[in-house]
Every structure is written in structure tokens, then in C-alpha cells.
Assembly symmetry: C2
Homo-oligomer: 294 residues x 2
């Protein structure tokens, strides 16, 4: 298999690696996200200095990004709130500097692709990958390929049921207030309870409320996308009890209407944690690179 | 183009036709939905009695149905509440009796396919088609093909925000109570207001509430599916003012977060009525038949 390079491009750091898959992932480096010029120059240097030349690059990118190949700003980071990073031609820069094919997608679509290829989504062609952390975002695979469509899914920003009597917290999303991300991201938990989620004991009522919101999201996405498997990751989902709480509540919310044995009898293998853990991102970039060759 | 046959299989009637597309749709008949044996026998007779033999059949079917080609009940109507129609091998029966390829999908996926091929979704590969009438259902095209996944999308059953102070109506969905369909289908309107929707004047407060629920659904689906166009049809959407109310409210709910000119500047051409009207269903069956040949 051709050696390729991957860049997991995030708002705080870029992770670069070369390799061919999870059992052959080499030379990882972390580059702090500084100005676009400085950050991308360090990525270019990293790949140029590899002993073995890579045949392609993949970029799993924070967003929003432009994924329409016919668009004049294809491959750009577009309207991100991250200072200095609006309208940055990240894909074009890497393609010009390195002279190899460049695969490009959202960080979450890329993570979904890596879980489909090597992780918790193997053998599935319709997959949902959601990460609950600083924000709530998700990658969607439908009919075997990542969904882009109009822009790309923004799963965290769906409106959800919000009972102001039991939870008067107004939410923290700058655009929507109490959308799912506004109510249930890591920073939303921190703001509501005054401490970070990982400092709250497992029996704190915060977790039942958190599971309620995430279960509403998961039930909504299941009815809308009909995924063959739901992968829930991110910092908030590292709490050991969260998967069980969410599975139980999703089954209650679906209430047998969705008559699939995967949900009815085997929800433990239907809603699952990621198999690739923290490496799903950079491995997603490796998949994008491999896909750009075929 | 090969002459093919289409069956729009509904809970109250089956519509059969032969043709090749919207400008060549011949010999339509309506067959009341009686027992499976009687209904399917009449469909078989209809196609056998055509002067010209059809090269394939498409069935756009009410559900839930089994769409997994590897399943032992592939092509069956499965757990429908319609008496007598559980576990009916509709696809297999037509294939055996007529000896031609049979395309098979949900009625709403088929309608989405016909709108993509000949109607309001031309040129799009990611499309949402929703019908609001006796129920609320939708077809989803992603990456150029209908989404099946676990079963198929059940868009009407998503949980939605329900403010019991402004709308104490508990909803009528037997499984979920106040899911979107439970709150906003035609029968839900009828139950809440005591008269059918089409009897309510255009300035009745029912319509603002109806638009609110449907806009919550549309915003949720846009964030989840990222469709390039949203087609809203069905009896409830025939009220002339509903499209304008929903477009306005969807834009407010998205609140510029989704930075796409299609939504920001041209929502009138982004959220649209079907172009094929009442023929989308049987034309969808024709598309399924044509697709089964290629």
C-alpha cells in the first residue's frame, strides 16, 4: 500500500503523521495552531523532511469548510470564528507545496471514514459518528460515502426539547442559544454546573440531564439518517456510565416504533464508542489520502 | 427507452401505470387496497393485460418495508398497522408473477427519486422530500441514491420542541404522542382544532403553530442531512401560505449559522413545493423500474 500523509487540522493543534493505517502510523507530530502561514509551512516542512516521499495527503479539517469541487473556494476554511483562519486555502496550499493529490473533508467525516474502514463501523455503509466535547459535531456516511450536500452536516446545532422548568439554563450557542450543542457540549456543562464535567461525580444529576439531551439528538438522527451503527465519542462520552444511560433513553424514545433487532435486542452493539479512540482523526486524514489515490 | 410499469402502493389505494416518464405516463388505474391476495392479483392482471409488455416493474410502497437485499424478508411489507398486510412479500409476488426485474423502495424515497429525475430536485444529489398529510414522511437522497441504512428514514417521528403552555395538545402518535407527526400531521390538526385543516381560514392561529413545528423539523433535517434542496408536499402543504411561513421560520431558526447563499439569499428556491404534484408517487415507481434495468 502507498505511504500517505495525514493532517488532523484542529483549532488548537495540527497533528501530522505518515503511514498506511492503524497498525502502521508513523512519525506523529503536533503543531500548535498559530497563523495559517506559519502552521501550514510547518506541515509542509514535516512532509518534505520525511525519508520516504508520501504519495498523497489527506486533511481532516475543522470547519466550516468548502467541499464543493466546482466552487471557487473549494478546499478553503470559510467562515470559522477562529481569528485569522477565515478564507484560508488549506487544501490548495498543501497541493501546490507538496505536488501530490490531496483528500479533504471535515474532521468528523474523516473520523467516520476511519471508523468505517478500521474501527467500530466496519462493514457498514451508513454510519453516524458523533463527538461530544468542546462542541458537538458529527460525520455522516450514507451509501458508502461521507455526506456533504449543501455544505456538510452540522449535527450539534439541531433544536431539541428544552424544558425550562427542569433546566432553566439558557444554553451557550452564540447562534442558537439552546440548540443541542448549546445545552450539552462540554463548555455548556461547565457553565451550567460551575465545574468541568469530569469533576462531577457519576451520580450527579448532571449526567441524567446530559444523557437526556444526547439521547434526544441520537433518536432524532436515527429517524432522519437510519444509520446502521451510531458511534459516540469525545471527551464527554469518556464518562463510563454515559453510554448505558444514552442507550436506555434512546430505546425509550424510539419506543419500539423502529422495529429493528439492532435497536430492540442489541442496542449495546448499535450505539458504541469509537474503536480508534484519539487516533480516529489523524487516521481519518490517512483514509482521505488513500481515497484520493483511487 | 424501455416501457416499464409502476405501482404506487398505498394504504387506501394502489395506482398502477405504464410509461417511461412524466410526458409518457399511460393507462393509469386505481385499485382500492383490499386484501393482499386480491389487490396484488388485480395489479398482476393489469400489467398482463397491457398491449405492450413492460420490461420492469417498480413498486413505491407504504411501509415499513424491508429493503435489505440480504434479508430473508427483503421486499416485504413488515410491521405495518394495516390489517392483513403484515409480512406480505409484495416484491417477490410481482417478480414471480410477471417475470421481470422489480425495483422496490418506500413511497417517499420513490417520490424523491422522481423529483430528482424530472422535478424540483433536478441536478441535485442530496435531496430531501417530505410529505405532510395523513402522516409525515420523507424520502432522503444522499450521494445520489436513496438512503435505506438500518431500515429507512422515518422523518415524521423525530422528537420536537413542544411548549405545553402555548400548545397543550398531547399529540396523537400511538408510539410517541408528541413527535412531529403526532403534533403536525393532518389528523393531528383535525384532532386539535376539531375541524380539518383545509376548513381553517388562512389567518387562523393553527397555521402559525403548524409552521412552527414543520420549521423545527426542516431545520433539524437541514442540519442533519445537509440537503441541496428541500421539497415539501402533501395535503397540509397545499395551503398556499404555508411555504412562506415555513421558509421565514426556518431562516430564523438557522440564524445565519448555516452560511450558504441558498438559505441566506434564496430560501424561496431552497424550500420548494414538489414539481410533479400528485404524480410524484407513481412516477417514483417508474424511476424504480428504470433503475432496476441498469
Amino acid at each position: 500500500m502507498t505511504l500517505v500523509g495525514g493532517i488532523e487540522a484542529g483549532g488548537t493543534k495540527f497533528v501530522c503523521a505518515v503511514g498506511t493505517g492503524p497498525h502502521d502510523l508513523r512519525e506523529r507530530v503536533r503543531i500548535p495552531t498559530a497563523t495559517p502561514a506559519e502552521t501550514l509551512a510547518r506541515c509542509v516542512d514535516y512532509f518534505r523532511n520525511q525519508r520516504e516521499r508520501v504519495g498523497a495527503i489527506g486533511i481532516a479539517c475543522f470547519g466550516p469548510i468548502d467541499l464543493r469541487p466546482t466552487s471557487p473556494t473549494f478546499g478553503y476554511i470559510t467562515s470559522t470564528p477562529k481569528p485569522g483562519w477565515q478564507n484560508v486555502d488549506i487544501r490548495g496550499t498543501m497541493a501546490r507545496e507538496l505536488g501530490v493529490p490531496v483528500g479533504f473533508d471535515t474532521d468528523v467525516n474523516a473520523a467516520a471514514l476511519s471508523e468505517m474502514r478500521w474501527g467500530a463501523g466496519r462493514g457498514r455503509e451508513n454510519l453516524l459518528y458523533v463527538t461530544v466535547g468542546t462542541g458537538i459535531g458529527g460525520g455522516v456516511i450514507a451509501n458508502g460515502s461521507p455526506v456533504h450536500g449543501l455544505i456538510h452536516p452540522e449535527l450539534g446545532h439541531i433544536p431539541v426539547r428544552h424544558d425550562l422548568e427542569t433546566d432553566p439554563f439558557p444554553g451557550i450557542c452564540p447562534s442558537h442559544g439552546d440548540c443541542l450543542e448549546g445545552l450539552a457540549s462540554g463548555p455548556a456543562m461547565h457553565k451550567r454546573w460551575g465545574v468541568a464535567g469530569h469533576e462531577l461525580p457519576a451520580d450527579h444529576k448532571a449526567w441524567a440531564l446530559e444523557a437526556e439531551y444526547l439521547a434526544l439528538g441520537v433518536a432524532t438522527w436515527i429517524y432522519t439518517l437510519s444509520p446502521e451503527r451510531v458511534i459516540l465519542g469525545g471527551g464527554v462520552m469518556e464518562q463510563a456510565h454515559m453510554h448505558a444511560l444514552i442507550r436506555k433513553r434512546v430505546r425509550e424514545l424510539l419506543n419500539r416504533y423502529l422495529d429493528a433487532p439492532q435497536v430492540r435486542d442489541a442496542v449495546d452493539t448499535y450505539i458504541v464508542p469509537p474503536a480508534l479512540g484519539g487516533e480516529a482523526g489523524v487516521l481519518g486524514a490517512i483514509v482521505l489520502a488513500l481515497n484520493s489515490l483511487s
